[in-house]
Symmetry: C2
Subunit: 335 residues, 2 copies
């Protein structure tokens, strides 16, 4: 069974987890695609492919072409901008024998829009942050309504906490709202930040879920984290399963406040910090391989190591420039 | 020969380079100290030590104590805030047989203050960015003098480009200057950003130097970079050697503008991106071991691989929480 990871970027650890799972279940190849010839995952993969930018009209046809040529059984997209594209082309990929491990287009749309995300949480009774559109807040400011500071300003369609800013007064809020259009304003939540890696079967069942607390963040991604007990989150995880119906890996973010978990985000893809859940026994790759093969794995909620700490550091591939456009990387060949 | 790295943090690759150099030159141990029990370098080291915060009055006495107990031959500090502390205690450490691989206190002071850095460059005839103190700019704004935008606002004493912001108009500039006191304002330089890893013998001689271009940055640190030819930088490197007299590794930053390199920063310590220079053949660890032993290594400027690309990704140590306060990490034991 051959698996293609798209926008594979720096996901070397994730590819290694899948390689182990593949080896344990009959073998196969790990393939990776990225638009950037220096993406490290291209060198980890058995074969790396340069593809056009996700927004290019040629993107999806190139992915389909790779799937055809390389007998790909599953495509796993890894960054937000390509999720809607691949979610809309599931049938085309299915027609050539490849399962696209991504949620339905409606679910992807909810995850990619923070205003829609909090509306979704509210609609299914999951506690969520009070969230305002840019227009609502501009209105309040004009009417000189009293706002409760601090407030958090973040891009409505952003990912990995880029452009997230804490505003302590009206002047700051006005400054950012005047300069950037694609913003939402959210109440500031006090509490520990927990990310939950969740694996769903696409029918509303959750197969595995591991909550992990952020201890240290770098460039919007977890640098150190620790797995925590899932009991306080269990009912919400199952509720998200029933209504969001994730297919494959997603991750949700919440703050554990005095009143319990308050949810803020859904990223309908593997989280950057998944390697911690994996080390703790989340087993997403094995379960995904079973889903791809059409079997129904037993749910394994709660079966992971609590209190496991991830301490990340930089490793690297070193490649001579003239090999970048060529055919060989340290870990495999490239096309 | 035992080497102690202080504030070792995530410097796992650097420790591995030194381990290789030690093994090739008679053996010894790699020890690491950090205030954070989750610092990954603690698990890479043969022995890890928890120490107080650098600003604590107990910090230096704890470092001296470790050096005594573990027969340390050299201490290599790795973050900016501890450089002045260790530079001032070189004699105390020398008295117990440990060489502190850090520049003189005057040089450290120049590196830690961006206003002093550009003044230093100017005074020795090295091209540098036009730089203004916060007061100068506030004055200009009051007098409504015409400023040339965009301008760059950065912390005077900051490191790793935290808080560096591009300002496109007076309003933005006023916003940041009103909110933060420890700022300088610098002309915006157009050109590729090059970091040069430089190794000096403390007497004004440069032993090795490798310039590398930043291709991609994450959290202020290079994520992808490529080594470039040193010819355009050679005279400036030697000039920095003569006047700054680095002892051990430093890194300087410049922009390659239409008029040639324009220098902006000196960090008087190993740069976070040094592993690229190392992979290209910079050889700092071997040379530093020779310096510690009192020999005078031959300079090896220009002897490194051009066009070597570093593609970084996250690796991690996974440690059970109950082992964090205990005695064993994956790579060694801890005290």
């Amino acid at each position: 069974m051959n698996i293609l990871f798209t926008s594979a970027g720096r996901r070397v650890s994730l590819l290694r987890s899948f390689r182990r799972a593949l080896q344990a279940s009959g073998g196969g190849s790990i393939l990776a695609a990225d638009m950037d010839p220096t993406a490290p995952a291209l060198f980890e993969a058995d074969k790396g492919f340069l593809v056009p930018r996700v927004s290019s009209p040629d993107y999806i046809s190139r992915v389909i072409e790779i799937c055809k040529c390389k007998s790909i059984s599953a495509v796993i997209p890894l960054i937000d901008p390509e999720l809607p594209v691949l979610a809309c082309h599931k049938d085309d990929l299915a027609a050539i024998g490849a399962v696209t491990v991504v949620c339905a287009p409606e679910a992807v749309a909810i995850g990619n829009d923070k205003l829609a995300t909090t509306a979704f949480f509210s609609s299914v009774g999951i506690p969520t942050a009070r969230t305002f559109s840019r227009e609502e807040v501009l209105n309040s400011l004009t009417k000189r309504e009293r706002l409760q500071f601090p407030m958090v300003v973040k891009p409505r369609h952003g990912s990995s906490s880029q452009g997230v800013t804490l505003c302590t007064d009206e002047a700051e809020l006005e400054f950012y709202l005047a300069r950037y259009r694609d913003l939402i304003v959210q109440e500031f939540l006090r509490g520990e930040e927990v990310t939950i890696d969740i694996l769903g079967d696409g029918k509303g069942n959750i197969l595995s879920a591991v909550p992990r607390k952020r201890l240290k963040v770098r460039g919007g991604e977890v640098e150190r984290g620790i797995t925590v007990d899932d009991a306080p989150f269990r009912e919400f995880i199952l509720e998200i399963g029933r209504h969001f119906k994730p297919f494959g890996a997603i991750n949700v973010q919440c703050f554990v406040t005095e009143k319990g978990p308050v949810f803020t985000e859904i990223n309908p893809r593997f989280g950057g910090g998944y390697p911690l859940a994996d080390a703790a026994g989340a087993g997403f790759p094995e379960l995904i391989l079973m889903l791809i093969q059409g079997t129904s794995p037993e749910p394994r909620l709660g079966r992971y190591q609590r209190g496991l700490v991830m301490c990340r550091f930089d490793d690297a591939f070193f490649v001579s420039m003239d090999r970048l456009s060529g055919v060989g990387g340290p870990g495999g060949s490239r096309e």
